[in-house]
């Protein structure tokens, strides 16, 4: 290994890339700026160990290689949130060549508070004075030259949504990185007391640990020690330094009567405030801004909630109704022509029957079940990005927080939970709008209790067979049961797994802004792509596994003798006290792990065997199939469009075409095997038992660990069994069993 390393020539022609870190407040337009700078070259992943998104890009510009890293949006570099720790660790440990600090020109003072902290790191900084157009429209005048002089850094006015100033920004960043000694930021004086205490502490620390001199900027280290930052103390290996720090801080505390952390925040804000006064001129008469006008209605005491619910209804409708026709189209193309022609191709190379079945029923069906989710993921991500980028997400949280907080959740939890009624998978992805890991995990855990669209076919089958006179009430009761259990489980989790102080709410209500089309496109595309690559792998694997379970051992004739049937028989007794202890029911539930609507399909195969589709007439030719794919896609587009304007309810949730004649046969068999009571118990079990594998993949993908899926799996299994048991046994006692 060593040999190899020493032999390899240094790439003399390719110098190390210029490393640019982009920092800034949330809502400063940082994300849009990155999108404009890097566009499709962005690579999205997670920061190691946390679920905070990491976006980076490398590209060449004027013969220079640039590696751009987007730091999480933060208000400060304190050690209290994941985002702040990630941003700080990167800056301190990796020491990029230059920091681009994105500053919202319409909110200068609070943004400069972060700038002041970035300057402490003694890394060259270039400020992007962003949203400059809006500031001008508001009549703000910012003296850029005076600001550059005061901070000792270059300041470039930018409008990220329009791409204005970005070339100049990159030029300035390259220049600053190329000559760091000339671009060293100015040291902002924090008052004699603080500076003296820091200097004294720094001298003492360096005497004991001279090695730290090269590792950290000395003044910054002293500030962090004075603030009592445990993370820095541990990382620098300075355990046991506390008495030294206490002595240095003693004078500060006694002279000012405040803890050092507050003194530091005061001192930093004093610099930000002073600088803002120096460089910013606001008009005497303040115009009433658009945001204020909108909020008078959107957050109104009486209109706030109805308007919010109306907006949510629209988002829900658009997400699921626009995507549904395309999902159906993708499903039909994979199940129809694609499967047909694959079968022909495998037949051409004389592939055996089992191979044809594996490829079509296992692999292609698995791919199909991934594909049908793609349109809904795209649609959901588009609307979530729009809600966040426009500023309405914060209002939604503001309006709903009281209700959600009572079950231990955050105001922002409402939207993912609501999306759960359409499909749990995009809902779990939507939890990324929650910053706090605790809020996020709890929300995701409760989402599977929202009865998704895939459970509806199961209800429709049973309700049609047993409760046709009261179908509406029975359906409604299942949805309500899910919601009630979510509230109860939320309260239970709050007191057990998530005990302790609930995370704080403190949240900016940013001005309403139109998100740029490019940002919407990039965020939507990233999420859809990730879903295909990452979640798709797991789903495909499980689909193939289920195929094997259904078709092994070799040459199995009866479903009952397959491994799946054996599994069904083995676990059937578990369901006996619930009223459906048959191997048929058990096998359907196991197969339903892929997607809950599969419960119906499997029941069809098991209860009504020999139902093979008999194609009438010769199969369509390839050109006919291709034409059909084209016309059905156009049809899907038309349906998506008309769905938007058909205001009567949510089209994708209504029963459509499920009561074909073949279902009638199944209903007949069901009526003999189930009683209304056991049918209801079965439906509650389907409502509550584990999330489908696609949801499982979403859990893994969103949290980076199987832990939360494990918790969901465990509690839902227990809950499903207990509730179904309670319903069946309670009902029997009440004499409803007949």
């Amino acid at each position: 290994m060593t040999m190899q390393n020493s032999v390899r020539p240094l790439p003399a022609t390719e110098p190390a890339p210029l490393r640019i870190a982009v920092a800034g407040n949330p809502n400063s337009g940082k994300s849009t700026l990155i999108n404009s700078l890097a566009g499709t070259r962005l690579h999205v992943g997670n920061w190691p160990g946390v679920t905070v998104e990491k976006r980076e890009a490398s590209f060449e510009r004027r013969d220079e290689r640039i590696a751009l890293v987007d730091l999480p949006g933060t208000y400060s570099l304190s050690p209290y949130s994941q985002e702040e720790v990630v941003a700080r660790d990167y800056l301190v440990e990796e020491r990029p060549d230059v920091i681009i600090d994105v500053v919202d020109a319409t909110n200068l003072e609070r943004n400069l508070y972060l700038t002041v902290q970035l300057l402490e790191l003694e890394i060259p900084v270039v400020v992007a004075l962003n949203i400059h157009d809006e500031a001008e429209r508001m009549g703000y005048r910012i003296d850029v030259t005076a600001m550059e002089r005061a901070l000792g850094v270059r300041i470039i006015p930018t409008v990220a949504t329009k791409g204005t100033g970005l070339e100049a920004l990159l030029d300035a960043a390259t220049a600053a990185a190329g000559d760091p000694s000339r671009h060293r930021p100015r040291r902002l004086h924090y008052g004699d007391d603080i500076e003296a205490a820091a200097e004294a502490l720094m001298a003492e620390v360096l005497r004991g640990h001279p090695d730290l001199a090269g590792k950290y900027p000395g003044r910054w280290l002293a500030f962090k020690l004075l603030e009592g930052d445990r993370r820095v103390i541990d990382e620098a290996g300075l355990q046991g330094i506390d008495p030294l720090v206490a002595r240095a801080a003693e004078h500060l505390i006694s002279a000012h009567g405040e803890d050092v952390e507050s003194l530091m925040a005061d001192a930093r804000y004093a610099r930000a405030t002073g600088l803002t006064r120096e460089v910013l001129t606001k008009p005497d008469v303040r115009k009433i801004e658009l945001t204020e006008k909108i909020d008078r209605i959107a957050l109104n005491r009486f209109l706030g909630i109805p308007l919010f619910l109306a907006a949510m209804w629209l988002v829900f409708k658009l997400t699921f109704d626009v995507s549904a026709p395309f999902a159906d189209w993708l499903g039909n193309v994979t199940a129809g022509p694609f499967t047909r022609w694959t079968r022909v191709l495998v037949g051409l190379v004389h592939g055996p029957d089992w191979l044809i079945s594996l490829v079509t029923d296992g692999v292609i069906a698995g791919v199909g079940s991934v594909l049908v989710f793609v349109p809904v993921i795209f649609a959901m991500m588009f609307f979530i990005t729009f809600l966040e980028g426009s500023g309405y997400m914060a209002r939604a949280a503001f309006v709903m927080d009281r209700a959600m907080h009572s079950m231990g959740l955050h105001g922002k939890s409402f939207i993912p939970m609501l999306l759960g009624f359409g499909c749990n998978v995009p809902a779990i992805y939507a939890t990324r709008t929650l910053e706090n890991p605790r809020d996020k995990a709890l929300t995701a855990l409760l989402i599977p209790l929202m009865s998704c669209g895939a459970r509806l076919p199961v209800y429709v089958l049973f309700v049609g067979a047993f409760f046709s006179s009261r179908s509406g009430t029975v359906l409604w009761s299942l949805y309500v049961l899910g919601i009630v259990l979510a509230v109860l489980m939320g309260i239970l989790f709050k007191r057990t797994l998530f005990r302790g102080e609930s995370p704080m709410f403190i949240m900016e209500l940013p001005p309403y802004r139109m998100p740029s089309g490019k940002s919407l496109a990039i965020h939507t595309w990233e999420k859809g792509k990730h879903f295909l690559y990452k979640a798709g792998t797991y789903i495909l694997a499980v689909s193939v596994l289920v195929w094997f379970l259904l078709n092994l051992p070799w040459g199995v004739e009866q479903k009952k003798d397959s491994y799946m049937g054996t599994v069904g028989q083995a676990i059937a007794p578990v369901f006996k006290p619930l009223g459906f202890g048959t191997w048929e029911a058990a096998s359907s539930l196991v197969a339903g792990v892929i997607a809950k609507e599969i419960v119906v399909g499997t029941m069809g195969e098991i209860y009504v065997p020999g139902k093979v589709e008999t194609p009438s007439g010769p199969p369509p030719s390839l050109s006919e199939d291709l034409r059909e794919i084209g016309t059905s896609f156009a049809e899907a587009g038309k349906n998506a469009f008309t769905n938007v304007f058909s205001t009567a309810g949510i089209a994708s949730l209504s029963e459509k075409g499920e009561s074909e004649p073949e279902r009638e046969g199944l209903r007949g068999v069901m009526a003999k095997t189930y009683t209304p009571l056991s049918a209801y118990a079965f439906m509650t079990f389907v409502l509550l038992y584990m999330p489908c594998i696609v949801a499982a993949a979403a859990f893994k993908h969103e949290f980076g660990t199987w832990k939360w899926f494990g918790v969901a799996f465990a509690y839902q299994t227990v809950l499903a069994w207990s509730v179904a048991f309670f319903i069946y046994q309670g009902g029997t006692l009440l004499g409803l069993g007949g």
Partner: protein, 75 residues
């Protein structure tokens, strides 16, 4: 007198921040500092949280969090 006691339209000057640890640091990072002028803009439709303006931007926080922010007694 604390921030949670103000009604929409009323304002006051912060005299003390009673919170400790992360909550206090977060408040201060958001510009909620002693001596700062804050104004309550709105109360959410369900009575909590509240919206305030501080450092000429809008911030929302729960009443429980606002209770720890003490205000100077009006003269």
């Amino acid at each position: 007198m604390n921030l949670a006691m103000l009604t929409p339209g009323q304002s006051g000057r912060i005299s003390h921040i009673g919170a400790i640890g992360p909550l206090k640091r977060r408040l201060m990072d958001m510009g909620v500092l002693v001596g700062e002028e804050v104004k309550v803009e709105k109360v959410a439709p369900l009575g909590d949280p509240i919206e305030i303006t501080v450092k000429s931007y809008n911030l929302s926080l729960r009443k429980r969090e606002a209770e720890g922010i003490l205000l100077e007694e009006p003269q």
